[in-house]
């Protein structure tokens, strides 16, 4: 079945999710075109109301809220995407290698992951960030490393089921190297669950970075980022103004959408009908 046909038969929630994801990607790509003002440009008084030149008012320092929301899509999505990709490269590959190699390598890697997973992720991240300091680079590396443990678990479990199949044995007997085994034999057969996991991990990383930024320990000012935008303008909520909730809503919307799409994909690939 072609992708388009599948799309048309998708449930409403999945269609909605895909639409939102496409819109977000477009906004992130064309941020400088869409935003009326610069990312860090101070354009007026702090906390100006909605309307006039400022579509959604201004923030605590007098920067245009709408422009910062648009740029925030680029920064927040970009960093979360980069982190997830890194986590998958690290965790996914080592999981596949652990499953193929087995023995001491598997045992060693699995025990390290067990211990890393025994510490709550947020606490671990806070601990490391307090030592190495909160820069964007350390943020990406720390979260990618912590998330790689979860990816490792899954990719190892999935690959374990593949490596016992005859065609892998045949490839081994042919004398293929590790790289061939990983990329040509195991990975294509483990791709479907890994892609779904990528969506879920992305949501998780995204929420995680937003939470850290909200705590003031994530993406640092003056970079526009949804988590810290909520933090900076939170005081407005006590006056009944909803504009600080907009960045939080933006975070919620994209994670809900990705979850809807992943839910639908898992449903498709498992062949499960509503049970």
């Amino acid at each position: 079945m072609s992708f388009l046909k599948q799309m048309l038969r998708a449930p409403l929630s999945a269609k909605f999710g895909l639409l939102v994801i496409v819109v977000y990607i477009l906004v992130a790509l064309f941020a400088p075109v869409l935003a009326p003002f610069g990312e860090t440009q101070v354009v007026g008084e702090g906390f100006a109301p909605w309307g006039g030149p400022f579509l959604l008012g201004t923030d605590n320092l007098g920067r245009d809220m709408f422009s910062r929301l648009v740029y925030g899509a680029r920064n927040t999505l970009g960093i979360a995407f980069l982190t997830t990709v890194l986590a998958f490269l690290l965790g996914g590959l080592s999981g596949l290698v652990a499953a193929i190699k087995g023995g001491a390598i598997d045992q060693g890697l699995s025990r390290v992951v067990d211990i890393l997973m025994a510490i709550p992720q947020l606490i671990f991240a806070l601990l490391i960030l307090s030592v190495v300091g909160t820069t964007a680079t350390s943020l990406v590396l720390v979260i990618a490393l912590l998330d790689a443990t979860r990816v490792f678990r899954l990719s190892r479990a999935v690959a374990m089921n593949v490596v016992v199949q005859d065609f892998v044995e045949a490839a081994r007997l042919r004398g293929e190297g590790l790289w061939w085994l990983v990329t040509r034999e195991v990975l294509p057969n483990a791709a479907a669950p890994l892609i779904a996991e990528f969506g879920l991990r992305f949501c998780f990383v995204f929420l995680f970075i937003s939470a850290l930024s909200f705590l003031g320990l994530g993406i640092q000012p003056p970079t526009a980022d949804w988590g810290s935008m909520v933090r900076d303008n939170a005081v407005l909520i006590t006056f009944g103004d909803i504009s600080p909730l907009l960045p939080a809503l933006a975070v919620a919307l994209i994670t809900v959408s990705v979850n809807f799409v992943v839910d639908w994909m898992l449903h498709q690939s498992s062949g499960l009908k509503e049970c």
């Binding site: 709550p120 601990l127 030592v131 909730l245 975070v251 809807f260 049970c275």
Partner: protein, 319 residues
């Protein structure tokens, strides 16, 4: 019975081992700082004498193994060291806040666990009805919302618009129980909303799995009533995964409090941790991390133990 014991002992040993490993990691985290921690804390302008004195005060002039021994020994005696920021003993800083955080998590657990189990069972009973679909979609959405979004929406609706509860939950040390409860309503509601969804989905999934199995069909054909099927036949077998997910979510609660405490300015351990990370007050961060990690490991280990203990097949092995 013997194998069960061995299994349980194994889990407990694993828990202790990870606790030890975690304390090593937390201890080593300080050593990971590029360069010298004393220099980094005091800044570039510090004289070599001050740096040396500070190093001695931190005990950095001793070999790492001795330092680790000292640290663990003092920890076991309840001495968590001294805060770098204000030179107060950490045990004093942590003491009162620890109780606040645990009571917050406990209240949230008391609200969310029964509610989640009930909703999960109802969703499983009336699966594919509009009620089930509604619950499922809202649960999926609730999982994807950041905690601070939920928290601020609750503040906007219940504190600002309706004016039912205070938006800030700062507690005076001598606050009465009534005030404490009133101020905890919104933080508890936020935490509950976040964990209920996960627990509910899991309860529903494990019950539905079971309801499709042949022995339930048999009970149905025998003419056993619907409620008896659920409580007598399905629930004992569904207990293991449910207990597991409840304990995991409680472990999650312990961590989830960090963000919620910051939103509501609740004087708990999470806020102390976040403040200390911002100030790079490393001994306090170490102490808080250790407390959070230990609680997390404790809950995870008890999840393992309980899921073994509540599995009828493991508790009553054949032959």
């Amino acid at each position: 019975m013997n194998s069960i014991f061995r299994l349980l002992l194994q889990r407990l040993a694993l828990g202790l081992l990870s606790l030890f490993a975690v304390s090593v990691i937390i201890f080593l985290a300080v050593g990971m700082l590029p360069g010298d921690i004393a220099q980094a804390m005091l800044g570039q302008s510090a004289t070599p004498e001050t740096v040396a004195a500070f190093r001695a005060q931190l005990g950095l002039d001793m070999p790492p193994l001795t330092r680790f021994g000292h640290w663990i020994w003092n920890l076991l005696q309840g001495d968590l060291g001294v805060s770098l920021a204000n030179q107060r003993p950490i045990a004093e800083l942590v003491g009162a806040r620890l109780g606040n955080t645990f009571s917050l998590a406990l209240l949230a657990a008391m609200v969310s666990v029964p509610l989640a189990l009930l909703l999960g069972m109802l969703a499983a009973l009336y699966r594919n009805s509009w009620f089930d679909r509604l619950l499922n979609t809202s649960a999926l959405s609730a999982v994807s919302f950041p905690e601070f979004f939920v928290a601020y929406i609750l503040i906007l609706v219940f504190a600002v618009k309706l004016n039912w509860f205070p938006s800030i939950s700062n507690l005076a040390p001598d606050a009465s129980l009534g005030t404490i409860l009133e101020r905890s309503v919104l933080p508890v509601a936020t935490l509950s909303l976040v964990v209920i969804a996960q627990m509910m989905r899991m309860t529903r999934a494990s019950l539905i799995n079971l309801l499709a199995s042949p022995y339930i069909e048999m009970a149905r054909l025998k003419g056993v009533s619907q409620s008896r099927i659920i409580f007598r036949h399905a629930l004992p077998n569904a207990l293991a995964p449910i207990v597991n997910v409840v304990a995991l979510n409680l472990a999650y609660l312990v961590v989830g409090v960090v963000v919620v405490e910051v939103v509501f300015v609740y004087p708990g351990l999470g806020q102390l941790l976040v403040d200390s990370v911002a100030k790079r007050d490393i001994p306090v961060v170490q102490a808080c991390s250790l407390i959070f990690a230990a609680t997390y490991i404790l809950l995870n280990t008890s999840a393992d133990v309980l899921s073994i203990a509540s599995n009828p097949r493991l508790m009553h092995p054949k032959g």
